[in-house]
Symmetry: C2
């Protein structure tokens, strides 16, 4: 592939991006699309915009970009939660480090590569891409120290940035925990694998155990029930009842919004409803449930403690002399609990985990087939041999460029779309007890999958085509990588262009939601917004994507620096697009409080070390013992740095330190807020009442704004919503998420 | 090597063993050797045996064997502590499983191997050992299912035995913890990395922190001091003073024993001494120390809590929002604390651990040199080429047999003697906070070392001599192992004979101690027993040895079953010898409460899986797809079993369950024993007072027997000592241990 082919590819992509982004800036102004592009705002401010017809609506404008640019981190933290802020930090980190890399590589490495061989250079557009990679530097060149130096500078900047990011995110996390209003999950422990007693129910066993061993701190408990048919019917009935009841009571909130439980009306009327429904659920709900479900209790319970410290100690310390009984963990937040997984017997969990692992590996292996096919496409002569009728078509230069530069990546991307849902299923089967945990686990799986399938398989099938013998030689891996990576650099470059840029345009356009909206509006003729769904941010697809591009950037930076500008454009665009989406589209439903950062940190370290190993291989091939010699201490230092960070920061992301919890307890006790918290605790975890009235209540208890009618969605001020995060997260049905997958 | 060479080797070894054991049975009856062979008994019963001259003393007798055989596990538990009992369990487990293996292999596999090829058999003594290994079975043989079946039977029996052993040892551990008298270490937390405040001492910082965050359960604390010269001098002075003081006071205890602090006299007089010395240390000791050491406080402290549960929660839960500060762990037992390591700054620890790891790997690599030399000796023609003058000597058949069958192992064993002390140094440098932890860590290192250097290096250098290319091929490892292991079987057999049997004879003879004793008595003419040292059981050398032989047994069982009887003899002998040594020689100084068992369990599983992988390779080479097919599920099941055991039992060996501690707390509170325990707590951890009076006091508080004079050491009844374990452990100077290394 030469420069002109690359430029063709870039041209196509830039065109597509510009068209899509312009289209977006028009579409988002159409009132009919408010549900698609302003899902989050609709949730927090419960009224429809008015519908004035104006010419302005059909002119593309960059206002959304300006808006996204101007939003500060505090606003993001308030609207999107801490996970969103951490995600944007990842993007910002990438922008920073690749800005450094692009400067270093363009001034230091690119000239060395270009003049590496004594050859007559063609005009630059006709020059092969190979001329700009390290493959063009001749063996034993004295200029290889520049590559080594660049590697040092990039690694050091990356480590310094990583350290300060980790530190500041750890601080942010602790601040977020202490600053938030009392969180019921801090007082709550989830106990599983309660032993069965023949003469008493699980509930009695739990009560006995905790009054015996934790009498001073034990408050109460609540059993987890197997969700049988009776429960489902009752929940549905209650849901229906509440819908009508609420609709009859509510005047300030438009009725069309009610079935989704989205409302911003005055709080009082809601409090009446809530109180009434509390009575109802007291009479019909749990009173009857107890009788109906006495045989359907699971061996799991939610235990409430009097202090946060007592809860955390119970969760951390081994409870029983049989470690498979009374297994306790700190409970997830109420809306985050994945109830159906709580009933899985604890004994099955380890088998499930191993099973999922095996299934994931199997999935990776099956996935090789489309990837090798895709890889075949990049080698035209193979393709012509397989499909002889294509020969005429492929002889045309333009088609040739499209096929080599564009098509392979598109196929790969389409195949990759099946991965996240599969991994989500795996993570659910694995037995995660929280939705955020499930998403995080899926995120890791998708990440491994992506890095393996996009990078390694392409590298190895590209270089040792159809010989999967790369397993047999451990010692040669650096050298093999060093040979293969520069050769595959053009593929990765087009991958950044297609997958990266295009995915951002798709992200901003929300094709699926837009399509559903159109079908509904013009085919099914439903004018009602009621079935509009809001999504939570798809971290399990977006985090791996951003990290994959970072990974490609690090591994290719000193080998094929021409990729870096494309990458930098990608990250800058990503920054704006994701910020916009977090502000307008996605609704934070649950919070992992920054637990995505360790994943990003580890991946970055892995990328750095791999790029160093590849550089080691390259220096070996190019016979530069000095450069190789200097690379080895760099690898060791990077690993030591990683180990230090792991010791210094990781524990905070796993548990909350006792110090913090004790201080919070002491503060609450001094303020006399404990009784109030205890009362809230009892109603926080409800397995079968995620009905509209519940959602609305938690919504409205936190929303005290006046729900003005807004004429233009653009004029919504994210600053206003700063104090509305807590609670709004619950206002959405979970169907949304599964349909997104 | 043929059968007759093997028998020569066996003959030499049996001869050596019989001679040494007879010599032992004579030597142990000599009163002058009491200090060597009855160290433990001397400690617990404080008087010298009388010295009657009789002919009986010079006749070898098997009475010690009978005695060892008759001792029950309860007696071992009482005299040697739980670690000794667990160690014997390892030996018993090996006896059991190899009894099964020997039956299976001799009736099922040996005939198949022997008649594997269609060949004319020589007379059995002249038959090569290869004829009895799996190498003799021809390719594609239909009889390979017998090997597969044997593998199944051995694996299943091993897993069943392992499961019940693990279960019973876990139970024993919990019983041991609950049954023992109140242990100060359960109430104590070791805090390291206390942050430095400019305006206050560490002690004030600690006090402030714990009164702020753990006010309800915090009792008091005690700082750790850097042991400077002043402290050492003062300790020595106090030691001297106490020695004279005690000598002057004591009438019932023989003066000659005093300097060692070994005494069994009535308790009252001791209590007087103790009280007096308490006053003294109150005046001269800590009062002055506080002034002298105000600048020498370490950033570490011992914190006492009011309940065991409070201590365990503080130790388990992350304390500070900076995980590198206020690092807390449950303290080791008072005599087990490795004080000098407590002053190591916590920040260094991770670097130290990595450094030790690297150093260990380097050590393993340097060690290759003697091992390859040893391996060269087994190949006679190579030896003759290197040393031509040996040619005449080596042509003699007997010499040939000695050199091939005996010499290599002897050299290897001598080289291996340098390993345990080195590993002990590594473990100390690593920063273990307890002596038992250091020993356990050294045990693991020695284990890895031994398995790697005895098994793998021999296998690989033996088969691919001087080509260290085994790293390059991962896929071929099973096949390579399958080729190499049967070929090296004869080496392993002689290794069992020499290293195994001979090491047991050496163990029982205690050559080093005997030699020191002789030198002292006849060269230096010291008739005093005072400088006699007692050792604690060298788990770091004996556990790896027993596990190594188990490992060799598993890997060779179906490939070269002729090894099994030798192994079985080894284990039976080991059972008797170690039991005798535990009863008579070694003194339990500290207790890890069965934490050696997980090491044994993991090693056994590793051995099983490796033997299965080797079998897989063999079946592959022999072209038996059915047998290979059946082996793969066996590997998977073994790994699943391991994972299950890890989940089910391992946590109990890491921490004590809250349930157990809370019950103990409640019991003590009901009995009103808490105040008494608190008072003992304050004096339990003393860094600079391991002087004789202290040792004696702790000794005598626990010893309430009447110290009768005994005429024959044989007549000591171990049953009597059942209640004397706790406390006697302190009665020995630590020099003993270092000199043992």
């Amino acid at each position: 592939m030469d420069i002109s082919a690359l430029l063709t590819s870039a041209g196509i992509n830039i065109g597509v991006c510009v068209v899509l982004l312009s289209l977006y800036s028009v579409l988002r102004k159409q009132p009919s699309n408010v549900g698609v592009y302003f899902g989050r705002r609709l949730v927090s401010v419960c009224s429809r915009p008015s519908d004035p017809f104006s010419f302005e609506r059909f002119v593309p404008s960059p206002s959304w970009i300006v808006k996204a640019w101007e939003t500060t981190e505090e606003e993001i933290l308030a609207t999107g939660g801490m996970d969103a802020a951490v995600f944007l930090r990842m993007v910002v980190f990438s922008i920073r480090i690749f800005s450094v890399a692009v400067v270093i590589c363009f001034f230091l490495i690119l000239p060395v590569n270009y003049h590496g061989q004594e050859m007559r250079h063609k005009r630059i557009p006709l020059e092969s891409l190979e001329v700009f990679t390290i493959a063009n530097v001749k063996e034993g060149s004295k200029w290889l120290w520049t590559h080594c130096l660049a590697l040092y500078i990039i690694t050091c900047s990356a480590c310094i940035l990583l350290y300060f990011e980790y530190k500041s995110i750890a601080k942010m996390r602790l601040k977020h925990i202490t600053g938030a209003p009392p969180n019921p999950s801090h007082f709550t422990v989830l106990v599983r694998s309660i032993p069965r007693c023949s003469h008493e129910t699980y509930s009695e066993t739990v009560n006995k155990f905790f009054t015996k061993y934790h009498s001073s701190s034990y408050l109460s408990h609540q059993m987890v029930y197997r969700s049988g048919r009776v429960q489902k019917l009752m929940t549905n009935a209650e849901k229906m009842y509440m819908t009508f009841k609420a609709a009859a009571h509510e005047q300030n909130c438009q009725p069309s919004f009610m079935p989704r439980g989205l409302c911003g009306g005055p709080t009082k009327s809601f409090e009446i409803v809530s109180r009434e429904t509390d009575n109802i659920s007291g009479k019909t709900g749990f009173g009857d449930l107890d009788l109906a479900t006495i045989r359907k209790e699971c061996a799991a319970a939610v235990i409430f403690f009097k202090t946060r410290y007592a809860a955390v100690t119970t969760a951390e310390v081994l409870q029983s002399s049989n470690p498979m009984l009374w297994v306790s963990v700190l409970a997830p937040e109420p809306h985050d609990v994945y109830w159906s997984n709580l009933c899985i017997p604890y004994r099955q969990l380890w088998i499930r985990k191993i099973g999922t692992l095996v299934a994931s590996i199997a999935f990776v292996l099956v996935f090789l087939i489309p990837v090798t096919f895709v890889q075949g496409l990049t080698q035209l002569d193979q393709l012509q041999q397989t499909f002889p009728f294509l020969r005429g078509l492929l002889k045309k230069k333009f088609m040739n460029q499209v096929v080599t530069g564009y098509l392979p990546s598109v196929i790969l991307i389409l195949a990759l779309y099946t991965v996240p849902p599969t991994m989500m299923v795996f993570s659910a089967v694995e037995g995660s007890i929280s939705r955020s945990g499930r998403k995080r686990s899926a995120c890791c799986k998708v990440l491994y999958f992506t890095i393996w399938n996009v990078f390694f398989v392409n590298i190895f099938t590209g270089s040792v085509i159809s010989q999967l013998s790369f397993f047999s030689s451990v010692k040669d891996i650096p050298a093999q990588l060093a040979k293969a990576v520069p050769r595959q650099a053009s593929f990765f470059m087009t991958y950044v262009l297609t997958s990266g840029w295009a995915s951002l345009s798709c992200e901003v356009m929300q094709f699926l939601a837009l399509f559903c909206n159109l079908v509904k509006r013009f085919v099914l003729r439903i004018k009602d917004d009621s079935s509009n769904c809001t999504f939570s941010f798809p971290y399990h697809t977006e985090v791996p994507r951003v990290l994959l591009f970072g990974f490609l950037g690090f591994t290719c930076s000193i080998l094929a620096p021409l990729m870096l500008p494309f990458l930098l454009i990608y990250f800058s665009l990503a920054y704006l697009v994701y910020k916009n989406q977090i502000l307008n589209v996605y609704v934070p439903k649950y919070e992992s409080e920054g637990q995505y950062w360790p994943i990003a940190h580890n991946t970055t370290i892995f990328s750095l070390v791999l790029s160093q190993i590849i550089a080691l291989g390259v220096f070996g091939i190019k016979r530069s013992p000095v450069a190789s010699g200097f690379t080895i201490p760099l690898i060791i230092c990077t690993l030591l740095f990683h180990e230090y960070c792991r010791q210094r920061f990781l524990p905070i992301f796993k548990v909350v330190p006792a110090e913090v919890f004790i201080e919070m307890d002491q503060k609450d006790e001094q303020c006399g807020r404990m009784e109030e918290i205890y009362q809230k605790l009892h109603s926080a975890y409800r397995q079968f009442t995620e009905t509209p009235h519940e959602l609305c209540r938690s919504e409205c208890l936190n929303h005290h704004d006046d729900g003005k009618s807004i004429s233009d969605p653009e004029k919504l001020n994210p600053g206003k919503e700063a104090d509305q995060l807590n609670g709004s997260s619950s206002c959405n049905l979970d169907i949304a998420e599964t349909s997104k997958k």
